[in-house]
Symmetry: C2
Subunit: 326 residues, 2 copies
């Protein structure tokens, strides 16, 4: 199976290296791409070609890797470009192009799945291609494959959780150290936990995208971003957090799909002994099942753990394709 | 696929009913058995034949259902008899008989898997039969299929958790209400949470069996019950629990497999904000993964939720067999 890893940031580098190390039998890494160009070698790339910056290689080709999809040079697209709103591009076009040609797709980019899940699923169905996206939600917490492989025969009634590590870090610092929102945000930015423009995280949009993916993929709903009521955490005062603490609660940014299928993202009071009341950059999600009751998963919501989710998805492609054309 | 449900207690009744309701396409329930006899109808049992007590039916046959396995009358054994130590019988013989004839097995009985996993796996491999046992550990928490389907490509380094709801209930009552061990145990017995002879739970053997199953099936070790250092909770004093509480900790019965593959079950001090510090009858397990870091799962460890684990295993059999001979 010939793989293209598109996107050469934190995740792209790690996934490419894992594939080169032969961690996934049956997968040959033939191309790695970034926004300005790509490396392509039909017989498989070599570790020494993949430096910190692809464009340093003498074999670096300028231009879009879309041509590799259009020309059928790969069997698997691993799309790891960053989330881009509102367009979802270039990932959306890459994924659509791949699926329409029967090329399997594994992605950790939230935007295309949140914005166009139903359309992409339909394209995938029409060509028989696979579309897997565990890495889009909850980092190393495998919510989507858990639903697919471990809870068959049960029904998901509601979902409720902390899906964004940055806001959870800020709220945790406010809770434990009494910091103001502004101070906690600045600290998170200094540590590289929050971005310089933190809007997507602190205003709740990142949580909303993930919640949307869970609602559609895990609960089988058909919701759009406009259906999510979104309130961020930028107006949470130190006083509000302190009052909650006195009452053995914490303020957390909670994404939830209720029993009537309504989606919301908002700061909520959560009891300190509620299983989802985790701190720091952790994520936590409670899935309420008709028979199994409440099942809670807690783990790191971003970074290195996401590699496990991506590799597991690639493993699934290899399994379904029967270790095919490697 | 012709199924025999063996064991007609809480789980057996619920699983049989789910199969009769057609919750799992491709499965025909042809037999249900209890210790004194069984009902068998090749064309499939009917809901009205399954009362509260099988032996009330005019078609009830006295004797062991083993004959149905020996005569190849079924394709799937769902073994739901209670755990029996030290022999593991009659489940061990039933499962061995089934696997040796190529009959797939789904079980929630801990003893055969804890006592003879390697042998049974070998038999299963030799005939190509499936052996699935999600229901043996953690009730509705799907630890085994999680490892198998959601974390491929990562490595499990350690396992640590609360695997027994009865002892967790007792310790939680001691923690929150200041009860003595004896009082908390009596309360749990009155509520049906603890058995009249609570030895298996409170002396840590139930936790040890489950830990052993996780060590062997999730971490690929080859451990025996003798390899587990076991200390129960019967000598935990109210004072010890109170002292822990003052230090923002709780005493919990923790089963753990450490990085050197050593297994232990013992009361431990756990910080109140540790994700596995759950209360009441909840179970919680943290799996430490090489890449994904700590992943914690929390859920009900027994009762109704176990049905989901059993049905998911049956679903897996149906999937692998391609909805075969239904």
């Amino acid at each position: 199976m010939r793989a293209l890893v598109n996107g050469y940031g934190f995740l792209g580098k790690r996934v490419a290296r894992s594939l080169l190390l032969g961690k996934l039998p049956g997968v040959r890494l033939v191309a790695v791409a970034r926004s300005t160009g790509y490396l392509y070698r039909p017989e498989g790339l070599r570790a020494e070609e993949l430096g910190n910056d692809l464009s340093g290689s003498p074999h670096f080709v300028e231009g879009s890797a879309l041509v590799l999809l259009e020309d059928g040079k790969v069997d698997l697209l691993v799309e790891l470009t960053p989330t881009n709103l509102p367009s979802g591009e270039p990932a959306l076009t890459n994924i659509r192009t791949a699926l329409s040609r029967g090329i399997d797709v594994v992605t950790a980019n939230k935007a295309p799945i949140a914005l166009a899940y139903r359309e992409l699923k339909e394209v995938a169905r029409s060509t028989g291609a696979l579309l897997l996206f565990e890495g889009t939600v909850g980092g190393g917490i495998p919510l989507i494959s858990l639903r697919r492989f471990c809870l068959r025969g049960d029904e998901v009634l509601t979902i409720r959780g902390i899906l964004n590590g940055t806001t959870n870090y800020i709220l945790s610092r406010m809770h434990f150290e009494g910091l103001t929102f502004d101070l906690a945000l600045r600290e998170a930015q200094n540590l590289g936990i929050a971005e310089r423009d933190p809007t997507l995280d602190i205003e709740g949009y990142d949580t909303a995208l993930k919640l949307l993916i869970l609602a559609n993929a895990v609960m089988g709903l058909d919701r759009k971003l406009d259906d999510v009521r979104i309130t961020g955490i930028s107006r949470i005062s130190a006083d509000a957090v302190a009052l909650a603490k006195e009452a053995n609660m914490a303020v957390k940014l909670i994404g939830s799909v209720d029993a009537d299928g309504r989606l919301s993202v908002a700061p909520r009071l959560v009891k300190l002994n509620d299983p989802i009341c985790v701190h720091g950059t952790l994520n936590a999600v409670t899935i309420r099942l008709k028979t199994a009751g409440d099942l809670t998963l807690i783990g790191e919501g971003a970074g290195e753990p996401t590699v496990t989710s991506i590799l597991n998805d690639i493993w699934e492609v290899v399994t379904v394709r029967g270790f095919g054309s490697a």
